[in-house]
């Protein structure tokens, strides 16, 4: 499947937006991990902004930057939102209420617990009628999500916004499902390259052997393992390098190969 990357966003520890992240991945700047502070979700009305949590703010910041870079209208673009953990803080809070005698489930938390909540807030923020799917694919959320987004782009012959994002989970679940860092990345994929395209991706799925590239410097490789969405770092590094190359990503089952060609 051949698609073009028209816009990119990254937010993670010490990675503030795509231009900054690209410089870090190119080795032009040192990586200095720091708490993630994403821009406010200004697309949302004040009451919705109060109701949504950090996961939604992360997803919206990623989506905004990728769409702005690509020059696409947020209200028109189909979305593929992928996250392993969903809003772990909300789920933990509900589970705690359920297991506490007399504990009440908050109605707002309940509707925020659906996996497509960040996607829902994104469409509310832009009064968008465009379809968005929410995927949850554990450690392989980035790779499965990319495979889905590329297929949708090609088959629907339309731009697709792909957003992958995850946060650490607090509470008891967080003791068994360990996600160390906040990380997210987003891509605007288009069927045919337009002016300003970053690169083309030729994406194939090899169902047999599992392979994962390990070309990242050790610290970033550790970051890539610490959050399901950070599984995209190897691909982001290849794109940032401005060189042709093929990236292997483990998926379920098998491997996804992304052949990157700069535009």
């Amino acid at each position: 499947m051949q698609v073009s990357v028209q816009g990119i966003s990254v937010w993670g520890p010490g990675l503030s937006g795509w231009p900054h992240t690209a410089r870090v991945l190119q080795g032009q700047e040192d990586w200095e991990p720091a708490p993630v502070q994403v821009p406010p979700a200004t697309c949302l009305p004040a009451n919705e902004r109060r109701r949504c949590g950090p996961l939604t703010r992360l997803a919206i910041a990623l989506a905004e930057e990728a769409c702005a870079q690509a020059g696409v209208q947020a209200a028109d673009i189909r979305g593929v939102f992928a996250s392993s953990n969903g809003d772990g803080a909300v789920v933990d809070s509900i589970l705690t209420a359920l297991s506490t005698p007399g504990g009440e489930v908050s109605p707002t938390q309940f509707h925020n617990s659906v996996h497509n909540a960040p996607a829902g807030y994104w469409t509310i923020g832009h009064a968008s009628l465009a379809p968005v799917v929410a995927l949850g694919c554990y450690d392989w959320s980035f790779a499965q999500g990319l495979l889905k987004a590329a297929a949708e782009c090609v088959v629907e012959n339309a731009p697709v916004l792909f957003v992958a994002y995850d946060l650490p989970i607090p509470g008891p679940i967080g003791k068994v499902r360990i996600t160390h860092n906040t990380f997210g990345c987003a891509f605007v994929l288009v069927p045919q390259a337009r002016q300003g395209a970053v690169c083309t991706l030729d994406i194939t799925h090899a169902p047999g052997a599992m392979a994962q590239d390990t070309t990242l410097p050790p610290q970033l490789a550790e970051l890539a393992r610490s959050n399901p969405a950070a599984g995209g770092l190897a691909l982001l590094q290849q794109i940032a390098s401005g060189q042709e190359g093929t990236v292997h990503m483990t998926c379920q089952p098998g491997t996804i190969l992304a052949e990157v060609k700069p535009c």
């Binding site: 359920l98 659906v114 909540a117 799917v133």
Partner: protein, 396 residues
């Protein structure tokens, strides 16, 4: 769109295990709803699948054991589904069959149980809690792929109550992109404290059995269940039985509110209109619309408005939630299978429990069984987050 063939299918809900029991219950107008008595919760009625919690999984690692996968496994064992998938596997190869499933809460009941048994000192869940294989959303397709011996790419779709409807669309994208030759599509959702208490907190659980489209409706009855179809290109595998064809879909967002539908129904109308366009049909060519029809005041009013906008009173419609309750993320596949049952047997069921149709409604709502040939059915699903999916199926 190029229609896709449904070459196997099965359904499990409170009204029955498999197609034959489902058809009997729909025709007999026999509801599966019973007073809720689940995990200490006694609010309203539920559509509970008997024996789901004690079912022993077949041929896979026991670590996958959770109520959601138990429902999925029960469904795999029905209607010759697993055998039909084996036949397809022999033809295409295991790596050419994908698994794309919808669920809203996966095995969250296992996490709820774990929170009841936390270590008092460390706050850690008990050792037996296997989060990845139960609560996690990806548990369902991983389990089903292992259960059916499939090695194509797998996907979990979690668009709230439109999850397993939307899964059809995502499956088609992989199929048409050439990533696979067939897909097991469907989903499962299971009773849990979170949804029972959560919908109650929103004031959306009916004290009586749910009565979609009734003037006095007060909310949903929560249900559970599972269902699957095997979807492949038409004519690609000679000798495969074709149960029905999937001929159109529309997907949209409301962009309006997280838990209330847009009263103007713009998203729902857009989804239904797109489904007609992709199927190359005009409004008069549908025989029946299976409504999302949850039984809440706002959903049913919005959907009536949407249906009337596109169809006037020309197409009979009803909700089957009075039989099963609202099976949330599983409702799309369960009602897709109901559509196939209705087309095969030639009937359209009227809403259950209706004393008086909401007098503000303008669409053609059925309250009794209509016996007639049914060739094409539209099936709607809408969900929190403002997600909409409309599918059109055709009989053979």
């Amino acid at each position: 769109m190029k229609p896709l063939a449904i070459t196997a299918g099965t359904v499990l809900s409170a009204i029955g295990r498999g197609l034959a029991e489902t058809e009997d219950a729909l025709l007999a107008r026999r509801s599966g709803l019973t007073p809720c008595d689940f995990a200490g919760i006694k609010t309203g009625y539920v559509g509970c699948v008997p024996q789901a919690g004690t079912y022993v999984l077949e041929g896979v690692a026991p670590s996958f054991t959770c109520r959601n996968n138990q429902l999925a496994d029960m469904a795999c064992a029905q209607d010759g589904f697993a055998q039909a998938v084996r036949n397809a596997r022999q033809f295409y190869g295991a790596h050419r069959i994908a698994v794309v499933l919808g669920t809203s809460t996966s095995g969250i009941l296992s996490a709820e149980d774990a929170y009841e048994a936390l270590d008092p000192v460390t706050g850690a869940p008990p050792m037996k809690f296997d989060q990845a294989h139960t609560q996690d959303l990806f548990s369902l397709p991983r389990f089903v792929a292992a259960r059916l011996g499939l090695e194509g790419p797998i996907l979990s779709v979690s668009n709230a109550c439109a999850s397993s409807s939307r899964a059809f669309v995502d499956a088609r994208h992989w199929l048409e992109a050439g990533l696979c030759d067939a897909v097991v599509v469907g989903g499962a959702d299971s009773l849990c404290r979170m949804t029972l208490r959560g919908f109650a907190a929103l004031g959306l659980v009916s004290a009586e059995p749910t009565r979609p489209c009734d003037a006095q409706r007060t909310g949903i009855s929560v249900g559970e269940g599972a269902g699957f179809v095997l979807l492949e290109r038409e004519g690609a595998r000679s000798g495969a039985d074709v149960m029905g064809r999937w001929v159109g879909y529309g997907v949209s967002s409301d962009g309006h509110h997280m838990s209330s539908p847009d009263p103007l129904a713009r998203g729902a109308v857009a989804a239904m209109r797109e489904a007609l366009e992709r199927a190359g049909l005009d409004a008069t060519q549908l025989d029946y619309i299976n409504l999302h029809g949850t039984g809440t005041v706002v959903n049913d009013a919005m959907e009536d408005h949407a249906v009337h906008t596109l169809f006037g009173r020309s197409v009979p419609c009803s909700s089957t939630k009075g039989w099963t309750g609202h099976t949330l993320g599983a409702s799309g596949i369960i009602e897709a299978m109901f559509a196939l049952v209705m087309m095969r047997a030639g009937f359209a069921p009227g809403c259950l429990n209706v004393q008086q149709i909401d007098p503000t409604f303008n669409s053609h709502v059925l309250t009794d069984t209509l016996h007639k040939p049914v060739r094409r059915v539209m099936s709607n699903a809408f969900g929190f987050g403002g997600t909409n999916c409309s599918l059109i199926f055709e009989g053979v």
